[in-house]
């Protein structure tokens, strides 16, 4: 009989980490994407490069620097410890912070592209009708870029679920705290526990496939709705 209770705990930790990370990513990624889309400066490319860095950097590099930063002897780690009373490295908070940085481009890039495509035309029209900036965001920007928000949310969530290197470096392997599915899978393989490894691998594979299919399905539906509208206009 295969014991999967530890794996279920890892699943819960993973979902919790991915959910918290996605919420934080949307909260900080939306304004960041907005400023990158609207900002006109030579320095913009530099910030775009920073956001895109996790796409090319080995996750262990990011993990290594975060590990140094999170240790109680460095300033960020020390500040965290004095503010919360607990150590930052090898905690749930640490893997959330790591995941936020690591999944940032998956949320910022689709939103930035959507905001750039949206342009200023409708926003100017809304301003002339008396709508302030926050009002304009919720009444115009969000409804017109909804598809990109869905894409950003799903990609941010799925990528966080699938992350390994950063969590390994800064999270350690604490059950219920930092032991996520990808780490649990690695442990099973190391212990030649292939039955459990199969369950986790196949589960992650199918779940990721379903999530991505959902993204493309939503994208196609929105596009074909737009096409339908355009066809009607031409008639």
């Amino acid at each position: 009989m295969i014991d999967i209770s530890a794996d279920i705990l890892a699943l819960v930790t993973t979902l919790k980490m991915a959910a918290v990370t996605t919420v934080i990513l949307l909260l900080i990624g939306t304004p960041l994407a907005w400023y990158l889309a609207k900002w006109q400066s030579r320095f913009k490319v530099f910030f775009e490069a920073i956001v895109a860095l996790p796409l090319v950097l080995p996750p262990t590099v990011l993990g290594f620097y975060l590990l140094l930063a999170f240790s109680p002897t460095s300033l960020p780690g020390e500040l965290w410890q004095s503010a919360t009373g607990s150590q930052l490295a090898f905690s749930f908070s640490a893997i959330v912070i790591g995941s936020v940085l690591y999944s940032l481009p998956f949320v910022v890039q689709p939103l930035q592209k959507a905001f750039e495509q949206l342009g200023d035309h409708h926003l100017e029209a809304a301003a002339m009708l008396g709508a302030g900036p926050i009002d304009r965001f919720f009444s115009i920007v969000f409804p017109l870029t909804k598809a990109s928000f869905i894409t950003a949310t799903v990609l941010g969530f799925a990528h966080t679920v699938g992350e390994f290197g950063v969590v390994l470096m800064i999270g350690g392997n604490i059950p219920g705290e930092t032991r996520v599915l990808s780490i649990a899978l690695f442990d099973h393989v190391e212990a030649f526990n292939y039955a459990n490894a199969h369950i986790l691998s196949a589960g992650l594979l199918i779940a990721s496939l379903l999530l991505l299919s959902l993204v493309y399905l939503l994208g196609n539906n929105l596009n074909s709705n737009l096409n339908k509208k355009q066809r009607v206009t031409k008639l």
């Binding site: 035309h121 409708h122 100017e124 029209a125 809304a126 301003a127 002339m128 009708l129 008396g130 709508a131 302030g132 009002d135 009444s139 115009i140 409804p143 017109l144 509208k229 355009q230 009607v232 206009t233």
Partner: protein
Amino acid sequence: MSLSTLPNNSPTLNNAISTLSLDFTVSFSQFETAIKQNISIDNITGIYGDSGSGKSTLLRVIAGLEKQAKGQVSFNEVTLQNSEKRDFVKAESRNIGLVFQDSRLFPHLSVYENLAYGAKRRKNPKLTIEEVLTLTQLTSLQYQNVSQLSGGEKQRVSIARALLAEPKLLLLDEPFSALDKTTKSQMLTFLKTIQQQLQLPMLYVSHSLSELQYIAEQLVVVSAGKISHVAPIHQAIHYLNNRGETSVKTSLSLTIAEHLPEYGLTRLKFNELQSTEQSIYLPLLALNSQRSDEESLIGQQLPCMIYARDISLCLTEPEHSSIVNHLPATITAIDYNNTNALITLKCAEQVFYAQISLWSAIRMALVVNANIYLQFKANAVHSYHYTGSITHA
């Protein structure tokens, strides 16, 4: 450069005369717009200029969409921006409406919801959405998706949406330039009616003089980033004639006197200021409308244009001609150029321009102060007034 001389004593809510005080510069990489002018806006004031002359920039500064503009802008003595004092009233707080050339309707909202967008955010609602739907004849389209509308319908929604925000001033940036001629004349007639009903001051930007001639009472001429002329519409068009920038035309307003359906003509008379009893005929205006509509047009002022190339001259009264319009006139100026002569004439107080060949000018031995007859066909009298049923439905 002349300032508009329209009086502006204590503007009240129902008074359509408002004052714009402008003194600003906006610089783009290669182009600077520098405007220093007070403009009294009486009903509809037109802004004319070539593309790239800075007329749209002028409108965007007034709207509050050009934050980098330096200097100051005020409307009815309320400061909208003053870069020295670091004052800047945001576009959404200026209570100024702007109708864009490309309508910019919100694609995720229906016609009704687009109208409600402006209505929801205004301070002291006076108009209801239903009233504006009726006024703009959009009631039957209110549940439609905006992407299903035609160009003219889109602009009507755009105007209705702007009206429902109940602005103190409405700016229109080439709103009908993408429309075909019939739709355009419908929309112009419609906009004029709305302006008269709501008494809302409007600034109307266009590069088409004939459009502006029909709709505006005053013209602001913008060229190379500066205001070069402000004058009542007919004077401004005659000023542009003299600058040689447009095809020369006579611009005048006449009073609709009677319709003569049996002859297919409408008779116009000069107004009192022009002090002549003469009539001018043009093709019947009230062709498709009901009897009551025909009557309602009588007594109204109609802006008309006659191209100088369409007016010919005659030494004696041309009584035996198919050309219906002939008026006695006195020559006030003759300008010769390479191929033709431009004759300026006065019929009572009204100026006319006639362009004739050099050969004719020499053969007829025309001299200044000579009394002569000018003649033109009914078809040569152009007006944008829409005669179909939609605007009177």
